[in-house]
């Protein structure tokens, strides 16, 4: 078994910045990601980011990934990157079992940072197992990473930022978005994203959901219906849309399974996306030396995940006995960034969720 100073699990926005801060402080880092390349969701985010300059606002996600990986490149042999490596087991003594190809091995880390992100939530409806029913993230991966169109005519389900952005990106790929349905009575994501697709002719239908997918071997149509105030389908309001793809964007759930394996205390907080680890001021879990950040800790934009990653990286470096320049000042500034990012109406949910979790915002 190999011993590591710091292990970061997940090379998305939070994991990348956590690794960077640890490296900056002189620590050795082993960065593990199950995908072929680092970046997590950044690898397919072709849109410009919101936020401020401090979180690379106005840069596209894919370009931010390049900035971060270029910075990582400066640290040479202090950084070990294990891609196509999946952490499959996690023990209380901070031992990880990993699988890469046909190899199985164990690592132990003095500090372990979890940045495993989230998975997409499914939506129950008749025939939702027909080929042609996708999660929005999968569609985004197909299009933006592999250059594959998922279909020609799409029904998007969900008006959060993912549903809105992926609709726009489908159109950029030359795919028709026939309609976007939203079960709630109003649009969930940023209105600027909604206006961007509406002005190109996409109908956004609130109080509406998908009733069933229709098709023999794959999706040939979607039946949608209106919902009443209790979110129950209204009989007689059904409409059939001719589509070959139904794209589901109904939210994300933090990937806490590994953390739970090692006995970390979690709490179910609806506003944060499901089971989330209970963290202290340092972003440390109930197991000493184990930290969590990014979507795993609470579902938010990648901008916030990058800030959280930095905070965790600095905290973990300090507890390794590494000296971090202006650490207190930087932590304070980063916390202020988070406060800014969460300060407006889009941050209401996260603020409420963190309060339930007992985290000061």
């Amino acid at each position: 078994m190999q011993n590591k100073e710091a292990i970061v699990i997940g090379g998305g926005p939070a994991g990348l910045t956590a690794a960077l801060e640890l490296l900056k402080a002189g620590a050795s880092v082993c960065l593990i990601d199950r995908n072929e390349r680092l970046g997590g969701q950044l690898t397919k985010q072709t849109h410009m980011f919101f936020g401020s300059e401090k979180q690379y606002a106005s840069h596209r996600g894919i370009d931010i990934l390049e900035i971060l990986t270029n910075s990582l490149g400066k640290y040479g042999n202090k950084l070990e990157i294990l891609t196509e490596t999946t952490v499959v087991g996690m023990y209380r003594d901070k031992v990880l079992s990993c699988v890469s190809g046909d190899k199985f091995f164990k690592l132990q880390g003095e500090k372990i940072i979890f940045a495993t992100g989230a998975s997409e939530k499914a939506l129950p409806f008749e025939n939702n197992d027909l080929p042609g029913v996708y999660a929005a993230g999968a569609v985004q991966t197909l299009m933006n990473e592999y250059g594959i169109k998922p279909g020609e005519k799409v029904l998007m389900v969900g008006s959060g930022n993912i549903g809105l952005i992926v609709s726009y990106q489908l159109m950029q790929a030359g795919v028709e978005v026939v309609a976007l349905v939203e079960a709630a009575d109003r649009i969930g994501g940023y209105l600027v994203h909604a206006s961007k697709i509406k002005r190109l002719g996409v109908d956004i239908l609130t109080n509406t959901s998908v009733k069933r997918a229709i098709g023999k071997d794959s999706v040939e149509a979607a039946e949608i219906w209106e919902l009443d105030e209790q979110w129950q389908g209204i009989e007689g309001s059904e409409r059939t849309l001719e589509v070959d793809t139904i794209c589901v964007a109904v939210g994300l759930a933090p990937l806490t399974e590994l953390l739970q394996q090692m006995g970390v205390n979690v709490k179910y907080v609806n506003e944060l996306g499901g089971n989330v680890p209970i963290l202290d001021e340092q972003y440390q879990t109930s197991v000493e030396g184990v930290y969590a950040c990014g979507d795993l800790a609470n579902i938010e934009e990648a901008s916030s995940a990058m800030v959280e990653g930095r905070i965790v990286g600095i905290n973990a470096a300090r507890s390794l006995g590494r000296s971090v320049e202006n650490a207190d000042f930087r932590i304070k500034a980063l916390r202020h960034e988070l406060k800014d990012l969460r300060g407006g109406p889009p941050g209401d949910k996260v603020r409420k969720g963190l309060k339930k979790l007992g985290v000061a915002t």
Partner: protein, 161 residues
């Protein structure tokens, strides 16, 4: 209603416009109707014409005296929520952000869309800026009949390529 279908009301739209006299010179029209944490419009403006302020969740405010209508904020806005408008005789000149391929060409006649996604008129592309600075958000210059000043927002995208 914008919260339900993504379409701002005409009152909301007009509130973002300066007077038609002011529009003798090009001015940025910022349609950021809901508070979100974002300020590249402010930081990208070389003339300090746009203010979001300390709290990046505030809606941007523009000083039309300072705005030159250069269009830098148009392609720096992550929400593609800014256009530049100018009145020239019986025409309105627009600069709009555009992120589709193929790009329209100078001189091309294009279908102009309203905020609710309907074709409302024809316009002529007068210039296309799509260099390194624009970084894949092209700036399309467009000339349309002035009567569509408050209705025009973008151009039609064709599918099935």
């Amino acid at each position: 209603m914008i919260e339900k279908n993504g379409v701002p009301s005409m009152n909301q739209v007009k509130a973002e416009f300066p007077t038609q006299e002011t529009l003798a010179k090009p001015k940025a029209i910022i349609e950021c109707y809901k508070r979100i944490p974002c300020n590249p419009c402010e930081t990208s403006c070389p003339f300090d014409a746009i203010t979001v302020g300390e709290d990046i969740n505030e809606r941007p405010r523009i000083d039309f005296e300072k705005c030159t209508g250069c269009g830098i904020c148009v392609y720096n806005c992550p929400g593609l929520a800014i256009t530049v408008t100018q009145i020239k005789g019986d025409q309105a000149h627009l600069k709009i952000p555009y992120e589709f391929t193929p790009l329209p060409e100078k001189g091309e006649s294009v279908n102009v869309m309203s905020r609710s996604g309907e074709v409302i008129t024809q316009g002529t592309v007068t210039k296309v800026q799509a260099g390194k600075k624009q970084n894949k958000t092209a700036l399309i210059h467009l000339s349309i009949p002035k009567e569509f000043l408050y209705d025009a927002i973008t151009i039609e995208v064709s599918y099935g390529s």
